[in-house]
Amino acid sequence: MADAILEVFRGNQEVGGAKQYTVPITPGMVVLDALHYIQAHLEPDLAVRWNCKAGKCGSCSAEVNGKPRLTCKTRMDALPTDKPITVYPMKSFPVIKDLVTDVSWNYRVNRKIPPFTPKPGTDWKMYQEDMDRVQEFRKCIECFLCQNVCHVVRDHHKKEEFGGPRFFVRVASLEMHPLDNVSRAKLLKDELGIGYCNITKCCTEVCPEEIKITDNAIIPLKERVVDEFYDPIMKLVRKIRGAPKAG
C-alpha cells in the first residue's frame, strides 16, 4: 500500500519544530498506529500518551491537521494523503515534550468541586429515566479536547478564573444526580467562571463521546446560577414545578 507523510511536532515549550516521517499505510490504520510506527522504526524517543487504543481512556489527544482529535480514533484513510498529515500537541496546554502536554491544570480544577453528597436517609432507589441524562455526562473520558478548544482557555488564557467545559460536565453530573443534595451554583459562578462561556458550542463539536456539553450541561447550569443569584422568583417557580433542583 501507499505511504503517508506525517509532520509531527518535536520539541518542548522553548524549542521545537515540525519533523516529517514516511509511514507505510496498512488497512484500517489510525494516526496513533502511525505514531507507534515512528517510535518502533524511526525515532524511539517520540513522546506520545496513550493507553487503551480504543477511544476509552482519553489519553491520546492531539491536533491532527489542525483539528483536536483522539489519535486512536482518527483513521488515516479519512485524511487526505496528497499533503503531509500534521500532528501537533494540544495548543492550550504547555508542551512537555513532542505530543505530550502538561494537563495538570485540569486536575487542579477538579479538586475544587464538592463531591457527590447524598440526601440524608436515602433508600438508594433510582430510576433509569432519572439517570439517563446524568449517565450522558458520566461518559466523559477526560480527553480534555473540549478544554483545549474552548476559546476562553485557548485564546484568553483564563485558566485561573474558568473551569472549562469538562468541569461543567462534571458539575452537571453531580447537580443532576437524582440523590445529590448540595448546590454548586456559587462555585460555578465565582470559581469556575461559567459566565465566561458564551455558548459557542466548539466544545460539543469536538467531544469524542458526543456529550451535548453546551445544550445539556452548560445551559441548564447557567440557568441554575441565574435562578440562584439573580432571579429568586424563578427559582421558586422551578422548585414548585418540581423541575431539577436548583438549590
Partner: protein
C-alpha cells in the same frame, strides 16, 4: 546510611503502586484508617487499565435473580477456576462484593437500573445467575471515576507518570520503592512503612492482547526480584473475543456482554459451533472453553476471512444494541467499518488477564515478604485456573479494601525501615546503562521478538516441546536485553521506558513458561496438547515461583483444603 540529598525523597505510611481499581480502593481505605498515603502510577490518574473494563462487576446482589447468594457466586468462582483457587479468597470475595458495589453507589457511581429502581444485573459466562452490575459497556470508567473522585476528596497524594523500578528492602522487609518521573527522567525515593502492589497484568508480553502498554507485569517482577513468591503463573487467560481485523486493532476486546446480551457465535459455514463444545452453556460457557473452541474452528479451516469466528448480535433490535453495547457499536463502526446492528463481528482469542501473580494471604493480602501487600490483577489466588468475567472488578474492590486496611495497620505498628543506598545505586546504574552504550539493540525490536515467542510457544495451546524451546529463546532474549541501547535524552522517552518494562516482561514470561512446563495436565486456561486431561495430583497443587540468587526456582505447594460445608457447595451434582 544513604546520600539522601541526591534524590528527591518522599515518606509515607503506605505506598500504593498502581492507580487502577485495586490501588485506588486500597488508598481510600488506608486514608480512612488515618495513614499517610501515596499512590504512584505510570499514567495519568484515571487512565489505568481498569478504565477499559466493559461488561460489569460481579456481585450476588440478587436484584434480578432472587435465588442468587454468595454461596452460588462462590461455587461458580471455584468451579470456573477448576478448584485450584484459594477457597478463602473466593469465599471472602463472594461474601463481600455486594457491599463493595453498594459502597461505589454511595460514592456516586450510577449503575444501570431495574424497573424497581435497583442495580440491574446481566448474565455472563460461568455465572449461574444474572450477576453483573454494569453501566452499559463502560463499567470500568464508572468505577475508576468514582474511586478517583472519592480519593481526591479524601486528599490522596498521587504521583502521576512515575514508574517504580525497584522495591527497597531492609533485611527482607519491604520499606519503600525507587522510581523515576517519566516526564523529566529524574529519580525519586519513596519511603514507606508498608507497600501495596496494585500494578495490574502482563498482557504486553503477547502481541495480540486487550491490554494497554502499562500491563508489563512490573509489580510481579519487582516483588519477585525483592524475594516474594509468585503463584499460578501458568494461568493466563485468553479472552475468546478480541477484534481480528483491521491489523491495528487486532486483540482489542469485544466485551463478553455481547454474548451476555444474546450474541451468537458461528463459523464460516454458518454453524453455531458451541453446540459441539458446550451444548448446555453454549456461548456463555467459560472463557477458556470458548477461546479454545474458536481457535479449533479456525485451525480446522472453518474460520472467517481474517482468521476468527463470527459473533452476531444483529438479531436484536438496533436500538437495544446501541443502548446496551454503545462502545462496541462505535468501536466497530469507527475502527472496522462494521455496523454490528446489521452484521456479525469477526472475533478471535486475545491475551487478556493474568490469574497468576503475587502470592498473598487471603484475609490480609500480605505477600510472602513483610511490609508487602498485593491486590487486584497483580495478586493471585482468587481465580484459580480461570477467571470468570466480572470477577476482576469485584476482586479489585474487595481485596483493594483489605489491602488498604491491612497495610495501614501494619504501618501503624512498624517503625520506619532503613534505606540501603547500595540498592538505589544499583537500580540507577542499570537504568542509565542503555544511554551509555555506544551501540546495542533497539528495545522495540527485542520486545517484538519476545511477543512472538510468547504468542507462538506459550499461547492458548501448549506442548512440552514448545515450552522448552520458549525457555531457551527467553534465555537469549534476556541476554539481548542486557545490551539495549536507547537514543535521546531522559525527558519523556518511551524507548527508554520500554527498555525497563521489557525486563519485567522477561521475568514474568519466564515464570509463565516454567510453570506451564511443569504442569503436565490441562486445567482451565492452561491447555497442554500433550497432556489433554486434568490430572488428579496436579489438581491438588499450585506452582510457586521464587528467586534463588540469579535463578528462578519452581516448587509446588498443596492447594488449601476447603472446609466440608464449602466442599459440599462446589460438589458436582447440583
Amino acid at each position: 546510611m544513604t546520600n539522601q540529598t541526591k534524590y528527591e525523597t518522599h515518606e509515607h505510611d503506605v505506598l500504593i503502586i498502581g492507580a487502577g481499581g485495586a490501588g485506588l480502593r486500597a488508598a481510600i481505605e488506608a486514608l480512612a484508617a488515618g495513614a499517610r498515603v501515596a499512590v504512584v502510577s505510570k499514567s495519568l490518574l484515571g487512565k489505568a487499565h481498569t478504565v477499559m473494563a466493559e461488561g460489569g462487576i460481579a456481585a450476588a446482589m440478587a436484584n434480578v435473580d432472587k435465588a442468587d447468594s454468595w454461596k452460588t457466586h462462590f461455587r461458580d468462582t471455584m468451579r470456573g477456576g477448576k478448584l485450584v483457587n484459594n477457597w478463602r479468597m473466593a469465599q471472602l470475595h463472594a461474601q463481600e462484593s455486594p457491599e463493595r458495589v453498594r459502597e461505589l453507589e454511595q460514592w456516586g457511581a450510577l449503575f444501570d437500573r431495574t424497573s424497581d429502581g435497583d442495580i440491574l444485573q446481566r448474565a455472563f459466562g460461568g455465572h449461574t445467575f444474572k450477576r453483573l452490575c454494569h453501566v452499559g459497556d463502560r463499567t470500568g470508567l464508572e468505577m475508576i471515576r468514582t474511586l478517583q473522585d472519592r480519593g481526591v476528596q479524601l486528599g490522596i497524594d498521587v504521583f502521576m507518570e512515575c514508574t517504580v523500578i525497584r522495591l527497597l528492602t531492609d533485611g527482607n522487609r519491604v520499606v519503600g520503592a525507587f522510581g523515576y518521573w517519566r516526564e523529566q527522567g529524574r529519580f525519586v525515593v519513596l519511603k514507606a512503612k508498608a507497600v501495596v502492589m496494585a500494578t495490574g497484568g502482563i498482557g504486553k508480553a503477547w502481541p495480540v492482547t486487550s491490554n494497554s502498554w502499562e500491563c508489563t507485569g512490573d509489580g510481579m517482577a519487582l516483588a519477585y526480584e525483592a524475594g516474594a513468591d509468585l503463584l499460578d503463573m501458568e494461568f493466563v487467560q485468553f479472552h475468546p473475543t478480541g477484534m481480528v481485523w483491521p491489523p491495528g486493532v487486532q486483540g482489542l476486546l469485544v466485551t463478553e456482554a455481547v454474548r451476555g446480551e444474546g450474541g451468537i457465535l458461528r463459523n464460516k459455514l454458518g454453524e453455531r459451533f458451541m453446540e459441539k463444545y458446550d451444548p448446555k452453556r453454549m456461548e456463555l460457557s467459560t472463557r477458556d472453553l470458548v477461546a479454545r473452541s474458536i481457535y479449533t474452528e479456525v485451525k480446522e479451516g472453518r474460520g472467517s476471512e481474517h482468521g476468527g469466528a463470527f459473533l452476531d448480535i444483529s438479531h436484536k433490535p438496533p436500538e437495544y444494541v446501541k443502548q446496551k453495547l454503545p462502545s462496541m457499536y462505535h468501536q466497530f463502526k469507527e475502527l472496522a467499518d462494521v455496523d454490528i446492528t446489521k452484521g456479525p463481528m469477526e472475533v478471535g482469542p486475545t491475551c487478556h488477564y493474568m490469574m497468576g501473580g503475587i502470592r498473598v494471604d487471603a484475609e490480609t493480602t500480605a505477600a510472602s515478604l513483610p511490609g508487602l501487600f498485593a491486590a487486584g490483577e497483580s495478586a493471585a489466588g482468587l481465580h484459580g485456573a480461570n477467571r470468570l468475567g466480572g470477577n476482576s472488578l469485584s476482586d479489585l474492590v474487595v481485596f483493594g479494601r483489605r489491602a488498604g486496611l491491612e497495610a495501614s495497620a501494619f504501618a501503624a505498628k512498624s517503625p520506619a525501615g532503613g534505606i540501603d543506598s547500595g540498592q538505589i545505586a544499583e537500580a540507577e546504574h542499570d537504568m542509565l546503562a542503555p544511554f551509555e552504550r555506544g551501540d546495542g539493540e533497539n528495545p522495540y525490536t527485542v520486545h517484538r521478538d519476545l511477543q512472538n515467542v510468547m504468542q507462538n510457544l506459550v499461547g492458548i495451546f501448549r506442548t512440552e516441546e514448545d515450552l522448552t524451546t520458549a525457555l531457551a529463546e527467553l534465555e537469549k532474549l534476556k541476554q539481548r536485553a542486557t545490551r539495549l541501547r536507547v537514543e535521546g535524552s531522559r525527558l519523556f522517552n518511551p524507548g527508554w521506558h520500554l527498555a525497563r518494562d521489557l525486563k519485567c516482561m522477561l521475568i514474568v514470561s519466564e515464570a509463565v513458561a516454567r510453570s506451564a512446563l511443569a504442569r503436565k495436565e490441562s486445567r482451565g486456561a492452561h491447555s497442554r496438547i500433550d497432556c489433554p486431561n486434568p490430572d488428579e495430583q496436579w489438581g491438588k497443587q499450585n506452582n510457586v515461583i521464587s528467586r534463588e540468587g540469579d535463578r528462578m526456582k519452581l516448587r509446588q505447594i498443596p492447594v488449601k483444603e476447603m472446609p466440608d460445608e464449602l466442599r459440599e457447595l462446589v460438589a458436582d451434582d447440583k
